[in-house]
Symmetry: C2
Subunit: 310 residues, 2 copies
């Protein structure tokens, strides 16, 4: 048995794994105090009954294999020695990596990245995360590779949670979708979308549900996010020429309403598009739980085969 | 002895190498007819006296190891089986790769990338080219990786030679610098820069020379190009977190007047800048000849050790 935990901006999700099968699932709110982060992982592990090894993925910059959370725009804390704190609290081997890397590990081992040597994982949710698989192994650079959510996408564009302006995730993310819908509803208080989005604050999920229910404006907004997402994917494909792009995260996992427009714009805008094929752009096989599942799989692999195996 | 050839948008440059030392150097104009490309390489090789193996780097998308030139915005031709054509014409083993990959090979083996496992090579000249070294080896993806000159940088921006709008190289390249200077001179016909740039058409090189001569406007334009270059480098550093970035190409090799502003903006704009170090951004050790030299080194390595060695 192993336990995987995904520490996101709003929730700490834990899964108990028997091999590659999820046996139990526990979710807590992410604490706002960095000092309480390790304790909340301990609580999740205790509720799951413990295991021989524990892995954690966290949204942000993580030094690997040291497991130090350096910083991230969505989770409070800097230079937190999470792996060491958790090993002391739990008394079992622990690995800590970025949530995108753990999600990519899950997709590579049991998800839609299986069988590919060179894969990009792009998570679309509260922000955009990323992980790179080259020759069947995670490529981390000097630790922090894959932070393409903070590519400059619109010079002097919207304020990003990271402190800069115009990052890709300011136009392609759940909050970006919610912000566009909020602005539309405020400008059109008697429109159909206003009735569908009566609960405040408006969330990205509510907008995608309105789109699924057939609202044309909501569909247009989802298509706009899909298009901006696709333009950024196109940059990544020009840079990596990967065999496959796997898209996960809460918003990315909803499927064709985002990926359809993304594929169309990427096929059109790719450098030398007339002389090459667009690689497949697939939805993540493990859905939004990929980060937690991959953390558990990674912990097991490290205990069994050593740190070089991940 | 080996011969390396760099096929660029305007010239075909060949070098005869004894080991890693350049013995002779020959330059011809690039033919505008794709059918004459192999012949012009043959002419360069003949002028250099021939060698046991020949390598060629070409600006654009190249299928490797097949050596097929698929397409490129700066050299005419599509699906040219250059390697096979050259092996037939020359009767010696030939390798054909992108000019950025051959330049990166030179930097990795005898230039400023020596001793690093993870390096990005970024060439700044007529356009922006790129190559990726991971774990001490060139990473090509499915063949076409490194085409970050065509990242979308300015939505609805300037027309690019590739057919799209707003690519990074439309604001950071020799032609971009020349275009800005031309516009300034036309708007200020009696200004100091107009006297310094009296030869038409204005080139990027003439502008950098005016900047070196102390002209404040020319310095400002070079700094602007350096700044836009640095913002794009910053994207690449967020994506790869490399150990080192080596900058080559005609404009990139001029040094601090471009790299100084690039480093400053990259240090400021890098994701999580307060919690990490900017990797070193170095000028290419082999200068603008890196592409030809690397092609020769690569040809020798392939003959001696097999295609897996590059």
């Amino acid at each position: 048995m192993s336990i995987g935990v995904d520490i996101g901006g709003s929730k700490v999700l834990g899964v108990l794994l028997d091999g590659t099968t999820v046996i139990r699932r526990v979710k807590l709110a992410t604490p706002s105090e960095p000092a309480h982060l390790a304790k909340s992982v301990q609580d999740v592990v205790a509720e799951l009954g413990g295991a021989a090894s524990v892995g954690a993925g966290i949204a942000g910059l993580v030094r690997f294999p040291e497991g130090v959370f350096a910083w991230g725009p969505h989770v409070a804390g800097t230079r937190l020695p999470l792996r060491d704190q958790l090993e002391e609290l739990l008394g079992v081997p622990v690995i800590v990596d970025s949530d995108a890397n753990t999600a990519a590990y899950a997709e590579m081992v049991i998800g839609n990245g299986r069988g590919y040597s060179n894969m990009l994982l792009v998570t679309l949710g509260t922000g955009i995360g990323g992980a790179i698989v080259i020759d069947g192994k995670l490529y981390r650079g000097d630790s922090f590779a894959g932070e393409w959510g903070h590519m400059l996408y619109q010079p002097n564009g919207r304020q990003c949670a990271c402190g800069k302006q115009g990052c890709w995730e300011t136009v392609a993310s759940g909050p970006a979708l919610a912000a566009m819908a909020t602005a539309f509803v405020e400008a059109n208080p008697s429109g159909s979308l206003t009735h569908l989005l009566s609960e405040a604050p408006i969330t990205g999920k509510a907008v995608t549900q309105a789109a699924d229910a057939g609202d044309e404006v909501a569909r247009g907004l989802v298509t706009q996010v899909g298009t901006d997402f696709g333009r950024g994917l196109c940059n990544l494909i020009a840079i990596f020429d990967p065999e496959v792009v796997v898209v996960g995260g809460g918003l990315g996992s909803i499927g064709e309403s985002i990926l359809g427009p993304a594929r169309r714009v990427a096929a059109d805008a790719l450098h030398g598009a007339a002389h090459r094929m667009l690689p497949p752009i697939l939805v993540a096989g493990m859905g939004p739980d990929a980060g937690a599942i991959g953390a558990g799989l990674m912990a097991r692999a490290v205990v069994e085969d050593g740190i070089e195996s991940v």
